[in-house]
Symmetry: C2
Subunit: 252 residues, 2 copies
């Protein structure tokens, strides 16, 4: 089974030039040549190329791939295993970026100003464990997000302004209630919690009670959200959290 460059290139979905290049740098030299000097690749070459492409796809530099390939005693299994690990790692990272983007959109909803460092924390090297969990907790999926995106896509500038106005009105009223000393698990606070839930449902996505309590916990757990509510009234984040939980329990 011998193949020409063109055949190999088509099969592996690379250009002929790429194969020439791999030959030049000695990463993948065909096992032989035809009398006329044509490169002839055999099955072993193909297998090697497959591994090379996989590592490349994962972003490895060619030199490093050469080391990996030429170093050990040749079995393919370790490569597959390693690639599997790298891939799942990558997927995890991308999922965190998704979570971060969803967070950014959520923040935009509340009109939070992100600090310079916060803007970029998405793309840095964070503690993987910590963030993996967080991404899970944050939404546990992306259904709500999709709905929100779909709906807000059609919003006009006026819609946004009305939304903001409603939001500010609600903020004013819960601020006043907070000042009045009314208990967080009282009827009035619960009514405002419910109103908050309906605001979200009307403007963004269906927000059942469990999701609402989940959001409430995020408001106290995540300093960025906390700051938003604390700016309205110091202590309001916890107050709202309690009101939302009380409201959710009473409706259950």
């Amino acid at each position: 089974m011998a193949y020409t460059v063109g055949q190999v290139a088509r099969a592996a979905r690379v250009t002929v030039r790429t194969l020439h290049h791999y030959d030049e740098i000695g990463l993948l030299s065909p096992s032989g040549r035809s009398p006329a000097g044509y490169r002839r690749y055999d099955d072993a070459d193909l297998e090697r190329l497959q591994v090379i492409r996989a590592y490349r796809e994962l972003g490895f530099p060619l030199e490093e791939i050469a080391e990996i390939l030429d170093d050990p005693g040749g079995d393919r299994l370790p490569h597959l295993r390693r690639q599997h690990e790298l891939l799942t790692g990558r997927i995890g990272k991308l999922q965190e970026m998704v979570a971060a983007i969803e967070f950014a959109m959520e923040a935009r909803k509340l009109d939070i100003q992100l600090t310079p460092e916060e803007r970029f924390e998405v793309f840095g090297d964070f503690d993987p464990d910590e963030h993996a969990e967080e991404a899970e907790r944050r939404w546990g999926g992306t259904e709500a997000y999709r709905q929100s995106a779909e709906r807000t896509a059609r919003y006009s500038k006026e819609d946004w302004q009305r939304n903001k106005a409603e939001n500010e009105d609600w903020a004013r009223r819960i601020g006043a209630l907070f000042d009045s000393g009314a208990p967080a698990d009282g009827a009035e606070a619960m009514a405002l919690a419910e109103e908050h839930r309906q605001l979200i449902t009307r403007w963004f996505y269906d927000c059942p009670y469990e999701m609402h309590t989940c959001l409430a916990d995020m408001y106290v757990a995540d300093p960025r959200f906390t700051a938003y509510f604390e700016k309205i009234r110091p202590g309001l984040a916890a107050y709202l959290n309690e009101a939302i939980h009380a409201n959710a329990i009473s409706r259950a």
Copy 2:
């Protein structure tokens, strides 16, 4: 709020050189300079950089990013939405690669020779819909795989040889049974099906009956696996499939 290159570089986790480069090509020119010629970035610059980095992380060339950024009427939301889409797309693609690698390992287990095109179909542009489903069906998760990987990692060359020998012995016997004309839902065929299941459990991963039937379906649905069994005896793939199902039902 004005920042120096160094501050911006640290926040965005890029090098100063990168910022210089973006300035050179006009992708991100700081909004001003200090009297001494120092670059001064403001918040709007930071925001722009954030979007740039996000697109870069997604593999866009700088020129294209410049077009995207300078083209429309400036809102950030469309970018977030677009990035979200791209990310989920990427994740899907990576998950397919994971599935393909798991397939390759499975194939190795059976000692299947992949054809040249098959080797590379992982990395091409396949029909997304078709494959997304397939990845779902294939394992519906990766738990079994992890177990398998963990176990096989410690196998020696002799282990592999013994495994192969057991497998060939089993293949010989089911081939003989097939020749004898014994029914696929008969006791003997079911016994061999059960033996197959235990072989997998012993060598690779726990294989309960539902998973076994799932594998059986894969053996007839996926031409690559089918070919493996058809090479033992034409018609054996379907025969084994039936035997496995019969065995699973009888044990339920």
